[in-house]
């Protein structure tokens, strides 16, 4: 049995049992729900905007080669270097090479999930580079040597007390329970780093083919500093993030802000068309775009689920997911958690080890409804279940469903089963939920409903039959 699946069970059990933790996550989300709804209501037609966003992504993803080439041509003409990385290793090696060739010592990073995906920090640190996450949440989890808990809110699982303790221990700062003071401690540390760093690494939210730009969305200003002061800028870019036209951003920027954090617009939305151009006073001398495949093309080849490449990593599907809210981000054991992570991880990292994630869903469809680009998330989870069952069939499951369909197709068998049920139920209730209980997967946390002494069918026959 896959250990990933066992880990998921252990961790999700632990988090789900922690009522305080669940209440804390719920509280963090409640402010988001309110702001998100207010901002959605401000749209003349949120559903219309989703339709258009889905159409634009459809156009872009289904002509990916064309738009990537256009993007590459335009941004190369502006002096940027584009490196096509087939996998995580190629991407890491390239970035290490750039760092070495330029005698880089200190690297400042702004938030990028793609760098988590390729485990870039470890690779850089192992080779002696000082690497600093500048996004507050990322910095906190970096100090704790943890991965981000959530796509958009990396440290939402920590209380201010825990963060204060962490800062006291790691930075020698004074204890405080004010988020403002804690933020200022990190601000002061990072100020020095921006000025010293010789390389800045960022993610990318969108790439624009028409004008050869990358667009970065953030609230703190750390990405802007990361891309302004160091002499080298490396931007990680998943191949799926390209949009055809500059104006497409006028739809996607407000939608990302609304779905992601309940904002009208995120504080800084910056478009970079290359490194510093002649006559410009600041900005990096070099811009390297690392265009990452890392099995995204596998997902592209699956026409049924291709739309999941349109994901803008807003996190909205996580925020509404009843599973995510209970098991939290760490149970998944993946870079991308929540519904979208459960959909794409089996494609990016192998169905065999990750198919259990598609069962981590109640199939309520809240994710699909929340998604600003209309990815059919909950159906994709079903498709992954189907694919998983096909690729490694479970004989026990096969037999039980075979038996079930036989029974449902033959009324006499069904009646017989009900009679047996009535006989065995009292016996089952003795062992209910214990290791002896054959139904314990289900009864472990639930009560088995008592079978009625008479079925509806029997009652009907008796009462109506008598009156006839």
């Amino acid at each position: 049995m896959a250990t990933q699946s066992a880990d998921f069970q252990t961790l999700s059990r632990r988090y789900t049992a922690d009522k305080g933790f669940r209440a804390f996550i719920q509280k963090g989300m409640s402010g988001y729900y309110k702001k998100r709804d207010l901002n959605k209501a401000n749209f003349q037609d949120w559903q219309g905007a989703r339709d258009l966003a889905a159409e634009i992504k459809y156009e872009a993803i289904n002509h990916l080669d064309k738009y990537l080439l256009e993007f590459e041509e335009k941004i190369t003409a502006r002096g940027a270097k584009v490196f096509w990385a087939q996998n995580a290793e190629a991407a890491r090696d390239y970035i290490l090479k750039v760092a070495r060739e330029n005698n880089v010592q200190t690297i400042i990073k702004s938030k990028t999930m793609t760098s988590e995906e390729i485990h870039l920090n470890d690779a850089l640190e192992e080779r002696g580079f000082g690497v600093f996450e500048s996004d507050l949440g990322e910095y906190i989890v970096q100090l704790r040597k943890e991965a981000p808990f959530h796509l958009v809110f990396p440290a939402m699982h920590l209380t201010r007390g825990q963060i204060s303790d962490l800062f006291q221990k790691e930075l020698g700062s004074e204890a405080t329970d004010e988020p403002e003071k804690l933020t200022m401690i990190a601000r002061d540390v990072m100020r020095r780093k921006y000025c010293e760093a010789d390389m800045g690494i960022s993610g990318t939210n969108f790439a624009v083919a028409e004008t050869g730009m990358i667009s970065i969305t953030e609230n703190e200003g750390n990405a802007r500093l990361t891309t302004s002061l160091p002499k080298i800028h490396v931007a990680l870019l998943g191949i799926e993030k390209v949009l055809p036209k500059l104006e497409d951003l006028s739809l996607f920027l407000p939608m990302l802000a609304t779905a992601g954090a309940g904002q009208t617009m995120t504080c800084y939305n910056t478009m970079y068309a290359g490194p510093r151009q002649p006559g410009e006073p600041d900005g990096p001398e070099q811009l390297h775009i690392v265009l990452l495949d890392n099995r995204r093309t596998e997902l592209l080849a699956d026409a049924e689920q291709r739309d999941s490449l349109g994901c803008i990593r807003c996190g909205a599907c996580l925020n509404v997911c009843p599973i995510f809210k209970n098991v939290g981000g760490y149970s998944y054991g993946t870079t991308y958690g929540g519904p979208i992570g459960s959909v794409i991880t089996p494609h990016l990292r192998g169905l065999k080890d990750w198919k259990h994630l598609s069962a981590a869903s109640s199939l309520c469809g809240a994710c699909t409804e929340a998604c600003p680009v209309k990815i059919d998330l909950h159906h994709h989870l079903l498709q992954n279940r189907r694919n998983g069952a096909k690729s490694s069939p479970n004989p026990l499951e096969k037999i039980s469903f075979g038996g079930f369909s036989l029974m449902m197709g033959h009324p006499a068998l069904y009646r017989l089963a009900v009679i047996f049920g009535r006989i065995f139920q009292p016996l089952q209730s003795v062992v209910n939920g214990t290791i002896l209980d054959p139904l314990r997967a289900w009864t472990g946390s639930r009560k088995f409903p008592t079978l009625a002494p008479q079925s509806f069918h029997q009652q009907w026959k008796k009462d109506r039959g008598g009156k006839k």
Partner: protein
């Protein structure tokens, strides 16, 4: 060195060849709108913006309150100077960053503070120790309460984000309805020669990374002041 370019492109083409994806389920017929991308289709769905300039200014002012952008509308450049002098005194500015720009120069006339000018390059520490950065902008965006800045209109990349207080001066003629109009402005002005940096600033820097509680001035400016000149 371009890496696995040919391989990746090959894989993309292979994945797409004779393998169409189902179209998204959309209630509106949008295929044409998406295909010609004129950028105007989205106006129908995005938040509404008034037709007249006063309505747009009012909307910008209203959104600014929510964002904690300090928005001031002033009748003359003299009034703008008085306002800036007052802010400078109250905040105890000792040194400010700025750049050569028609309206910014007019605003700073008579201000008796050392000024770090960025347009020809600057020392990072020198700019970092300024209490404020004073810049112009490309346009103001009524729909979002945003400010579009560029290398040219904001003295480079860092001036509008490194000092803890960012002051922007703009004229009412720079007020545009929405992001689409802002992009149209940039395309018209720069043609194919875009500056390497274009940014929408929407409120002062913020974070909610600790218990989702809003804190201003995470890494960028804690304060953002917009002075709109009639």
């Amino acid at each position: 060195m371009t890496g696995g370019r040919a391989i990746i492109l090959g894989r993309i083409r292979e994945a797409l060849r004779n393998n169409p994806a189902p179209r998204p389920h959309t209630s509106h017929s949008q295929s044409e709108a998406a295909a010609d991308h004129n950028g105007h289709a989205q106006r129908e769905w995005l938040p509404k913006v008034g037709e007249t300039l006063p309505e747009r200014i009012e909307l910008f002012a209203k959104i600014s309150v929510g964002l904690t952008t300090e928005f001031h509308q002033v009748p003359t450049i003299t009034a703008a100077r008085d306002l800036l002098t007052k802010i400078a005194a109250e905040s105890g500015w000792k040194k400010i960053g700025s750049h050569s720009h028609h309206d910014v120069d007019a605003l700073l006339e008579g201000i008796e503070l050392p000024i770090v000018r960025t347009e020809k390059g600057y020392a990072i520490d020198d700019l970092e120790s300024c209490e404020a950065g004073v810049t112009g902008c490309e346009v103001l965006v009524a729909q979002t309460g945003g400010i579009m800045v560029s290398v040219e209109s904001a003295g480079g990349r860092a001036l509008s984000v490194l000092p803890p207080h960012h002051v922007v001066i703009a004229r009412t003629s720079q007020m545009v309805p929405d992001l689409t109009a802002a992009f149209a402005h940039a395309k018209k002005k720069y043609g194919k020669q875009f500056p390497s940096f274009l940014s929408f600033i929407t409120g002062p820097s913020r974070t909610g990374d600790i218990e989702r509680i809003l804190v201003l001035g995470a890494h960028g400016p804690k304060r953002l002041t917009v002075i709109l000149l009639d």
